[in-house]
């Protein structure tokens, strides 16, 4: 059957490219493998040519797939499930890419794309390691390509086809509008009815969501390079890869840090986690590979400078990539459904994801155990006064912390395997913080001291001569901060508070000592200071985390004392304040007024204009939090915060609930009988019926010719003394009666003329309805985050340090090559 108006070509081209890419990856893997194995140079080269050609085909295929999806999204081809599910016609062009990676398929594609880019850089630079390294990369590409197939093999579906048509997904069968009455099948012109998609999730309509996923996926993708080098090293039994891998490991570290912290920035801006870091499994899953990779980077440096720690370098690099795969499994298989708000729900790729981990992890570990006996080891013990010893300890601590985090995050996996019923503790962030604060102390101290030690052996006099000054400065600064009371966080008892203060000292020590090292150790040679700068950034990050998280404040404590609010139990937080439009409300240090709201059709947002005034009068500002309507799943609109930024704090406000006057109308009319001149009370004052008017001359209501109007002239007097005039009434035409109720918005009052109760006594029945929901109202949550800027600044410094090191290391490699 032919359907009218379908554009099938982009889908067919895209699906062909998906299958082609699968085949090309397979060819590339085999050819690179053969080239790596070949002994004769000519044979090696011919395999390599084939492999590169296959890799080129693969790259073109991946780009074709992306272009096809992009074309489908931009042209709103809703016959495709992908476009229907993830976009709609009102989508702003800048978010098209966010649609691309909203779904599993798109994000796998992004990952695949980065592998291609990295692959070509490796082909250009890796020289003798090219074949070995690219074998692994191509194989990973093969695994990713299977995720995009959507083809059945022996009744099991492999992958998800991003080009599936909406009509084949079964969704349309249930909508009667799409059925052709004569045949019972889908109407041939169903596309004329299907006018819009279900839209992009509102949380993703944020600029961070356009740039954060590509960076994070580049970070994930880049962890394959150290893994591939290590794997090639094991295959070839050659450990010289530890040198060319260094810039790659540094690059991976830099990009992963950026990606993870961009995710944190998004979480912070959209407040969907209540801050920049909430130990949500999705966040943990991206942090853990970073920790292990950094551990590997340090042992790698140790091996290069001293010959120790080769085995641990292998293990850490293998684990870093395996953990990326494991994280992929955690966040995409749906196993975290009950513990994370933000994980994907599993499609039918559970088994595929598990195999994806094992197919890399198991061969690498088996090979490692075969080769480890023949690896060179140094029998002599490291000196306690050597840099390599403490670097190794530092790596172990990083690794240990990653184990703790991943073990906790994996609780749903244990539940699934062992049938246990463990669930997250009451205070999830604290359950992490209470352990990791000690890790922070250790890492801060090690970061501070280790650079002052030399490889092999450090003269004790040298060490103590250099270290005393930074130590003294750090003690002074941290004591000043601690005693200033900026960190009084006693909610979790004195033990935890002491730990925080020690950690603050350790972190400041790290900053001061590494800054000092640039002059004391390196004599101000900035070119060689990459490591110091990265360590300054890392330690400063710890400082920022400690200060900002211990002082997060809720400003919107509901302490208004307005009688409208029920008292909550004292142990429960009441962190939201209700604001009526136009009413200045007391909120702790501020007065807040909800001035008005404006609707913007362009981005489907409704903005609330809020005016904040601090009570001392020093500070006035306006915030515009908004809510956004989306079609998807017919959800309620979702709230977006707005923030006021200061150098030392951010104030966030978001509408946590709001009333829509047209909807929230559930109360009923209370009938009251009145005569002219009578008065009736309502909850906030009284209502007077002045007189009954038949066909009043200057009637403000619309009355059609031939109708007789009977209007009631009434006055509403509120307790505060405000007077409002209202004229409800009815119009009669022959036997039909039309009711014209009237309202007093400010009092939440609706009046209607029900009927004449008694003609002789001239009493009338009036309906009175009170509905507070009529006054526009929002519930506001306001948070203050202090010194958050330190966190972002620290990340920038850290990444700068990584980049400086990459420049330094690639420079050295070039020199030795010459």
């Amino acid at each position: 059957m032919n359907y009218i108006g379908e554009h099938l070509f982009p889908g067919q081209l895209g699906h062909f490219a998906a299958v082609l890419s699968l085949v090309a990856c397979l060819v590339a893997t085999i050819a690179f493998f053969k080239s790596n194995r070949a002994e004769i140079l000519a044979e090696k080269k011919s395999w390599l040519r084939l492999a590169r050609a296959a890799f080129l085909v693969e790259t073109i295929s991946v780009i074709t797939i992306i272009c096809c999806i992009y074309y489908i999204l931009v042209n709103h081809l809703f016959e495709y499930n992908y476009a229907w599910e993830h976009s709609d016609t009102t989508l702003q062009p800048k978010y098209v890419f966010a649609c691309l990676w909203e779904a599993q398929e798109g994000s796998f594609l992004l990952w695949s794309f980065w592998h291609c880019v990295l692959g070509w850089i490796l082909i250009a630079t890796a020289k003798k390691w090219e074949a070995g390294v690219l074998t692994v990369v191509s194989f990973a590409q093969f695994c990713l390509a299977t995720m995009l197939l959507g083809i059945y093999f022996f009744h099991t579906k492999v992958g998800i086809n991003p080009f599936a048509l909406l009509r084949t997904e079964g969704l349309l069968n249930n909508a009667p509008a799409f059925t052709d009455i004569t045949t019972g099948n889908l109407r041939a012109d169903y596309l004329t009815i299907l006018k819009d998609g279900s839209g992009l999730n509102a949380l993703l309509q944020n600029y961070w969501m356009v740039i954060h996923p590509p960076v994070l996926f580049l970070g994930f993708a880049s962890t394959i390079v150290p893994f591939a080098f290590a794997f090639a090293g094991l295959v070839n039994n050659d450990h010289t890869w530890t040198k060319p891998v260094l810039p790659w490991a540094l690059f991976s570290g830099a990009v992963l840090s950026t990606g993870v912290m961009m995710g944190a920035a998004w979480a912070y801006e959209s407040l969907s986690f209540g801050g920049y870091w909430a130990w949500d499994p999705v966040e943990n899953a991206s942090l853990v590979p970073w920790l292990v990779l950094i551990a590997g980077l340090h042992t790698n440096l140790v091996y290069k400078s001293s010959g120790y720690s080769l085995k641990s370098t292998y293990i850490f690099y293998i684990l870093a990539f395996s953990l990326v795969l494991y994280s992929t499994f955690l966040t995409r298989s749906g196993i975290l459904g009950d513990t994370s708000v933000h994980a994907f729900v599993g499609a039918d790729i559970f088994t595929q994801l598990v195999s994806f981990i094992l197919v890399f992890f198991i061969p690498a570990m088996v090979l490692f155990f075969i080769r480890q006996k023949s690896m060179p080891t140094i029998r002599k013990e490291e000196s306690t006064y050597s840099r390599e010893f403490w670097m190794f300890i530092g790596s172990l601590i990083l690794f240990l912390s990653s184990l703790i985090i991943i073990a906790k995050t994996s609780v749903p996996v244990f539940n699934k395997i062992f049938g246990t019923k463990m669930s997250p503790p009451e205070d999830v962030p604290f359950s992490y913080n209470q352990i990791l604060v000690f890790i922070a102390i250790l890492l801060g101290l090690l970061t501070a001291v280790t650079q002052y030690l030399k490889y092999k052996e450090t003269p004790k006099a040298f060490f103590s001569k250099k270290i005393w000054l930074p130590t003294l400065i750090a003690v002074t600064i941290s004591l000043a901060i601690s005693l200033s009371g900026a960190m009084n966080y006693d909610k979790k008892g004195p033990g935890f508070m002491i730990a925080i203060h020690i950690a603050l000292f350790a972190a400041i020590y790290g900053v001061v000592a590494n800054t000092g090292y640039i002059w004391l150790g390196l004599k101000g040679k900035l070119k060689a200071a990459g490591a110091s700068v990265a360590h300054i950034g890392f330690a400063l990050l710890l400082v920022g985390i400690l200060i900002s998280s211990s002082r997060k404040e809720v400003l919107s404590w509901n302490t208004t004392g307005v009688s409208l609010f029920e008292k909550t139990k004292d142990q429960d937080p009441a962190e939201n304040i209700a604001l009526f439009q136009g009413v200045r409300t007391d909120m702790g240090k501020y007065h807040v007024t909800y001035l008005r709201d404006t609707t913007n059709d362009f981005d489907k947002k409704k903005y609330f204009e809020l005016s904040f005034e601090s009570k001392d009068g020093a500070n006035k500002f306006k915030l515009y939090p908004d809510i956004m309507k989306i079609n998807k799943g017919r959800q309620e609109p979702s709230a977006n915060p707005d923030k006021e930024h200061y150098w030392n704090k951010d104030i966030f406000a978001y509408a946590s609930a709001w009333t829509d006057p047209s909807v929230n109308d559930t109360t009923t009319f209370r009938p009251v009988q009145l005569k002219e001149g009578d008065t009736v009370f309502y909850s906030n004052g009284m209502i007077v019926l002045n007189k009954v008017m038949v066909n009043p001359p200057n009637n403000k209501r619309v009355i059609e010719p031939g109708e007789t109007a009977m209007m009631l002239d009434m006055t509403v007097i509120s307790k505060e003394g405000s007077i409002y005039s209202v004229t409800p009434g009815i119009v009669i035409k022959q036997n039909a009666v039309r009711n014209l109720p009237d309202t007093v918005m400010a009092q939440g009052l609706v009046l209607q003329f029900n009927k004449i109760a008694d003609e002789k006594k001239r009493t009338l029945e009036i309906g009175v309805k009170e509905n507070k929901g009529m006054t526009p109202l929002i519930t506001l949550k306001v948070l203050q985050f202090p010194f958050i800027s330190i966190v972002w600044l620290a990340v920038i410094i850290m990444v700068t340090g990584f980049i400086m090191s990459i420049v330094q290391r690639t420079g050295k490699t070039k020199l030795t090559a010459v």
Partner: protein
């Protein structure tokens, strides 16, 4: 024994101790019936909202009070009280995960996890309904 071995042993011991202590921190998934036997203990329940019973939430009166009736798969029900905002889309969720403790006659809820909007993919009904609503005008 080398220094490094001693340190490794210490690390292993520390990590085991830490992990065990963390396990002690975890709560457990319970059914409503078993939760009722442990009043005051923090537990996690995986429940559905009983749509036949009223959901009590009025942000005008008090934005920090939400009460509803929860049903578990065994058919038991309990009144849930939550002193915070109603999570967006809670009424539409198929299943919610709540953390808290039984206190007297009700479940004093501290945490509500409603499934993420991006996950409605696996709920074909939601997608179907949305399609129906979109096209009901024809």
């Amino acid at each position: 024994m080398k220094k490094i071995h001693i340190i490794l042993l210490v690390f292993i011991a520390v990590s085991i101790a830490v992990l065990i202590s963390l396990m002690g921190n975890l709560s457990t998934y319970e059914t409503i019936a078993t939760a009722k036997q442990k009043p005051g203990k923090y537990v996690t329940l995986s429940v559905k909202m009983d749509r036949n019973k009223p959901l009590d939430y009025n942000p005008v009166k008090n934005p920090n009070y939400l009460a509803f009736t929860a049903l578990d798969t065994l058919g038991n029900s309990v009144q849930v009280v939550y002193h915070d905002l109603k999570p967006t889309d809670m009424e539409k969720s198929e299943r919610i995960v709540i953390g808290g403790a039984i206190s007297g006659d009700h479940f004093e809820c501290k945490k509500i996890l409603v499934r993420c909007p991006s996950k409605y993919k696996d709920d074909p009904n939601a997608a179907k309904n949305s399609l129906k609503e979109q096209t009901s005008q024809y």
